[in-house]
């Protein structure tokens, strides 16, 4: 169905490309004789007349093979493979399948918090329920209540790995394919170049390592975010809102993007002229999708309450006050029919947003953890830290979102999303290492855009991804995943011609020498630091009074590099939006007229 549409679009796109080619720095693609990095070589025979129905299946099979092969390695199992008492994310996800299939819906969010209580939004719960139901057909013992805790049946592992891949192929991968197609067409990028970018995006090492090796379902959330972004590209604002609610409903971490989504959607309602109808549609769609999202929980709670099923059956004596917003109880009748629903929703919010925990939990390469080396953050009161954190986050995301608000242009979306997510990652509360996936995704999709495979963007996207994977190394090495880490990271670096395998991504013709050298030197310094760090962490034991020395060094270097990535995204956003120079505005303005 996409083939005919591409045929009808072709002539117009070519015209757009020709006009855009004038401000392009590098040669037009047709003049390129040799591929400039190995990934382009692999797709080299596919240039010309090869149809997407031949290339796309091959790409999807190849990236699938790497995912499954990486999944043969061990999963997150706490400290060491199959280590009691808590195991890891794998057990958490399995446990959620257990409680969602075995307990009445009203008890899901009340069940024992100590053993991986459900603390993700409802869509994850429904997803777990579905996977648990399917899994129980294969082997009911996998998800037996209590008896299955800490199970490490090898077949269960295979089933769980398969669920990650299937979820990803149903949501993330179609979303990526569609996004790459739309985004590359926006700039008149040729389909072949877009395929190269697609492979690069799908082979992102950090994403494979976290989801398919360490074990999580981040790609489902990321897939919804990408669907939301491609709806924005297509001008379907209502669907953008719906998909984004789905992303939020799957994993609260999608909030990292929320300001950017909000700014873009609001911006497109007020700029260039105020469009009340569009605003109303978006608002109503958002509210309805939230309602649909929690509807099963609400109905389930009401139904369970009517059958006399208690949401907290272990509890003796009077019901405890609401965990947060206790003042609500003063206005509400605790015996009313709606009260269990209120209690359920409050409990859900309480589980999903753990305000009571510290500023940071583990060693993660964000600002607070890095600054902690110099100033011990824990000595300050939690409320003060929360306020500082909130202020810093808002300050860091403000520039990107203001630009997006006044210039809600599709070309800027990845930059704004990345800058916002970096801001959250660096300054917000309770950040996890894995959260680096969120800023990495919008940065990586830049590969599909204008000059995306040119040296400048490739160097920066590569730098962010390799640094991001590197900051996850302590997490991965704790569970003996050094080999898949090394293989997937080096493979990606090799495919895209990045250090340490090649320096081909540096020294682009036509750029100022000053900029080239500074980029090369800064990136080079970071790559050397990363390699030296690996050598030290592998062979030198840290001094006994500083057992965490290498991890802290990792955090410090990672944080500095991420700040650079954040600044680069902001810089590119300012440059591309053209708010500082009027002359640059001309060409995108004329281009948007052709659409």
């Amino acid at each position: 169905m996409a083939a005919p549409s591409s045929a009808t679009h072709k002539p117009r796109r070519n015209k757009a490309k020709k006009t855009a080619a004038y401000d392009a720095i590098t040669k037009p693609e047709s003049l390129v004789r040799t591929p400039s990095f190995p990934l382009a070589s692999f797709l080299w025979p596919a240039r010309g007349s090869v149809s997407q129905w031949e290339v796309l299946p091959l790409i999807l099979m190849a990236v699938g093979l790497f995912r499954w092969a990486a999944g043969l390695w061990g999963y997150s199992a706490g400290a060491g493979f199959q280590a009691p008492p808590m195991f890891g994310d794998f057990e958490a996800q399995r446990h959620w399948m257990e409680i969602t299939t075995q307990l009445p819906i009203s008890q899901w969010y009340f069940n024992d918090f100590q053993w991986w209580g459900l603390d993700y939004p409802p869509l994850t719960a429904y997803h777990s329920w579905l996977l648990g139901k399917i899994g129980a057909i294969i082997d009911p013992t996998w998800f037996e209540l209590f008896a299955s805790r800490g199970s490490h049946d090898p077949t269960l592992k295979i089933y769980m790995r398969a669920t990650v891949i299937v979820s990803e192929y149903l949501i993330y991968i179609p979303a990526t394919v569609i996004f790459v197609r739309r985004y590359s067409r926006l700039f008149g990028v040729a389909p072949w170049t877009a395929w190269v970018a697609l492979v690069a995006i799908l082979m992102q090492p950090a994403t494979i390592l976290i989801d398919h090796v360490h074990f999580q379902y981040n790609t489902v959330m990321l897939g919804f975010v990408l669907s939301s972004m491609s709806s924005m590209l297509a001008g379907r604002h209502m669907w953008a809102a719906v998909f984004f609610v789905a992303a939020l409903g799957f994993k609260q971490m999608a909030l990292y993007y929320a300001p950017a989504v909000f700014s873009f959607l609001l911006g497109s309602c007020i700029c260039p002229r105020i469009n009340v109808g569009r605003f109303a549609t978006i608002a109503i769609a958002t509210v309805i999708s939230f309602a649909v999202l929690i509807l099963p929980i609400v109905l389930g709670t009401l139904y369970d309450a009517s059958r006399g099923i208690d949401s907290q059956p272990d509890l003796d004596g009077p019901r405890p006050p609401l965990p947060i917003f206790p003042q609500l109880a003063e206005y509400l009748d605790t015996n009313a029919i709606y009260y269990p629903v209120v209690e359920q929703l409050v409990q859900m919010v309480h589980r999903i947003f753990p305000f009571s925990r510290g500023l940071f939990e583990d060693k993660v390469a964000n600002f607070w953890c890095a600054i902690n080396v110099v100033i011990k953050m824990r000595k300050y009161p939690a409320v003060l830290l929360q306020r500082i954190s909130l202020g810093a986050t808002l300050a860091s995301i403000a520039p990107a979102n203001l630009i997006l608000l006044i210039r809600p242009r599709k070309e800027l979306l990845p930059y704004a999303f990345a800058a916002t997510a970096w801001g959250f990652f660096m300054f917000s509360y309770q950040v996890h290492e894995k959260s680096a996936l969120l800023p990495l995704l919008p940065m990586t999709i830049l590969l599909a855009g204008k000059q995306g495979l040119g040296k400048d963007i490739r160097a920066w996207v590569g730098f962010a991804n390799l640094l991001g994977a590197w900051t996850m190394f302590p997490l991965l090495s704790r569970v003996d995943l050094k080999v898949p880490y090394a293989v997937l990271t080096l493979l990606w670096a090799y495919l895209l011609g990045l250090p340490p395998t090649s320096t081909s991504a540096y020294f682009q013709e036509g750029q100022s020498a000053w900029l080239q050298w500074s980029t090369a030197i800064i990136h080079g310094a970071f790559y050397i630091l990363m390699i030296v760090w690996h050598g030290l962490a592998q062979f030198v034991t840290p001094p006994p009074d500083k057992p965490d020395l290498w991890v802290v060094a990792n955090v410090g270097i990672g944080c500095a590099g991420f700040i650079l990535c954040y600044l680069w995204c902001i810089g590119k956003l300012v440059q591309e939006s053209g708010i500082l120079t009027r002359s640059v505005r001309q060409s995108p303005g004329s281009k948007s007229k052709t659409q």
């Binding site: 190995p38 091959l58 092969a69 495919l495």
Partner: protein
């Protein structure tokens, strides 16, 4: 001349990444067999190698393979000496697994080197329309062969290295100056793994006709060449058998049975109640038929064709031939599959059936997606690419044969789906023989069909 993309090296790097990721995959008893051989060659004097019986997996490959194991065991000693203890039966610490898996990847560099010769411009015969692009495509298809991935990198063996030597030998035979070297390399290969003896008749006839007899008259024997070849062969065999001289009888025993006699596998085309003698006679008969043509017209293409047909004959009629032996057919055939469309249409059913027939080697659920997706990936990529690259033939094609081969390939998809998923869902654990039977008959039909097709192509071209 411009470079063709992607290069063999680039493919090898990416393939190596996948192979390293497959380290924790299922491994068969062959892993322990080879670990035991490392232990034997490292810890015993050379004359005891073929008498050592602590493990049931005695050393039963010819001596060059034992030397090969010995060389690797020297490195293994530096890495993790525990794996070299004779009594450490079934030892598979992660160091052992990493080391042995890694040696498979490293020794495959031999294959890479041989394939680089295949693609080298001086070996491309543009008169036959075989462009460099086609040679490179064929070389990459061998390098990425699902057969080698399944057998070597998951199941565990060292075929990549040995097929590399075979290809080097086949390619050397292309030039007159390389004939002697080709013969000697092949002799050395025979001293590594005796299964290649099945291909020896083609070598014998080809070298006899092109090297020992002059091209015009077959009555004037070129004595000097004969002496060179003979003394070379004696030297190679001497090198192999002199040192573990005492072990020779054991080794001959192994040579006679030709394979280790793994019984009860799903190797097909061997009907019950057939004695080894009949098998041998049939194999010989169907080897002699193509060899007569080779004797009359000793071109390099005919030689590769004859090697392929010898492989077919031994695979189809040999005694206790393992399904892994299908590589004996597929790999030489790959070298000439792109000559023209008629060759290609005989190759296609073989590519499908040969690789599908390897599926039962891996029966664990974790490896199921790897073997199927990788094979489908390979088939889709290379059948499409070969289809573009193969030049039209100057002869009439077999119309029906083409149609049947397309139909045959189309059947594979529902068949794989049925055997791997539908059967389990419908019948549970009952009738477990059904999928195996379907697979075997499907593969047998493909191999026999492609054999008949290729016979036709061979005798009419």
């Amino acid at each position: 001349m411009t470079e063709i993309h992607p290069s063999l090296w680039q493919c090898a790097v990416v393939a190596a990444a996948l192979k390293i990721l497959l380290f924790p995959a299922y491994k068969s008893t062959d892993f322990e067999v080879h670990r035991n051989w490392l232990a034997i060659t490292n810890s015993l004097p050379i004359w005891d190698w073929y008498y050592e019986k602590t493990s049931e997996w005695t050393l039963d490959y010819p001596p060059f393979f034992a030397y090969f194991e010995w060389a690797m065991s020297q490195v293994a000693y530096l890495v993790h000496p525990m794996m070299l203890r004779l009594h450490n039966l079934g030892y598979d610490s992660w160091q052992t697994v990493y080391f042995q898996r890694f040696t498979v990847i490293v020794t495959e560099l031999v294959l890479l080197y041989a394939l680089q010769i295949v693609c080298a411009p001086r070996f491309i015969d543009s008169a036959h329309g075989t462009s460099r692009r086609a040679a490179q495509a064929a070389a990459i298809s061998i390098l990425l062969s699902p057969g080698l991935l399944i057998i070597d990198h998951i199941h565990f063996q060292y075929n990549g290295c040995m097929y590399g030597i075979l290809i080097a030998s086949l390619v050397l035979a292309r030039n007159k100056s390389g004939l002697l070297a080709s013969g000697l390399v092949f002799a050395a290969l025979l001293c590594m793994k005796h299964i290649y003896a099945y291909l020896a008749p083609a070598y014998f006839v080809f070298l006899l006709r092109t090297y020992c007899l002059p091209p015009r008259s077959i009555y004037k024997i070129q004595f000097f060449n004969c002496v060179k070849l003979g003394s070379g062969l004696v030297a190679v065999l001497g090198l192999a058998f002199v040192a573990p001289r005492v072990g020779l009888p054991v080794n001959q025993e192994a040579l006679k049975s030709v394979t280790r006699g793994l019984v009860g596998d799903t190797s097909f085309a061997v009907l019950p109640e057939i004695t080894p003698r009949i098998c041998f006679a049939l194999t010989l008969l169907f080897q002699v038929i193509p060899l007569t043509k080779l004797f009359l017209r000793p071109t390099w293409e005919a030689f590769i064709g004859a090697v392929t047909l010898c492989g077919y004959a031994s695979f189809l009629f040999g005694w206790h031939v393992h399904e892994k032996a299908i590589l004996l057919v597929i790999i030489p055939f790959s070298l000439i599959a792109l000559r023209d469309r008629r060759h290609l249409s005989a190759f296609r059913p073989l590519a499908v059936s040969g690789h599908v027939s390897l599926f039962p080697l891996l029966f664990t659920p974790a490896e199921f997606p790897i073997k199927t997706v990788y094979t489908i990936f390979w088939l889709m990529l290379f059948l499409v690419m070969f289809d573009r690259l193969a030049p039209a033939s100057n002869r009439q094609r077999f119309f029906l044969f083409d149609r049947f081969s397309t139909l045959y390939i189309a059947i594979s998809i529902p068949l794989i789906v049925y055997c791997s998923l539908v059967h389990r869902v419908v019948f549970g654990n009952r009738y477990e023989f059904l999928p195996l039977m379907f697979m075997s008959s499907y593969s047998a039909a493909g191999v026999v069909g492609s054999w008949l097709g290729f016979m036709g192509v061979y005798f009419t071209s």
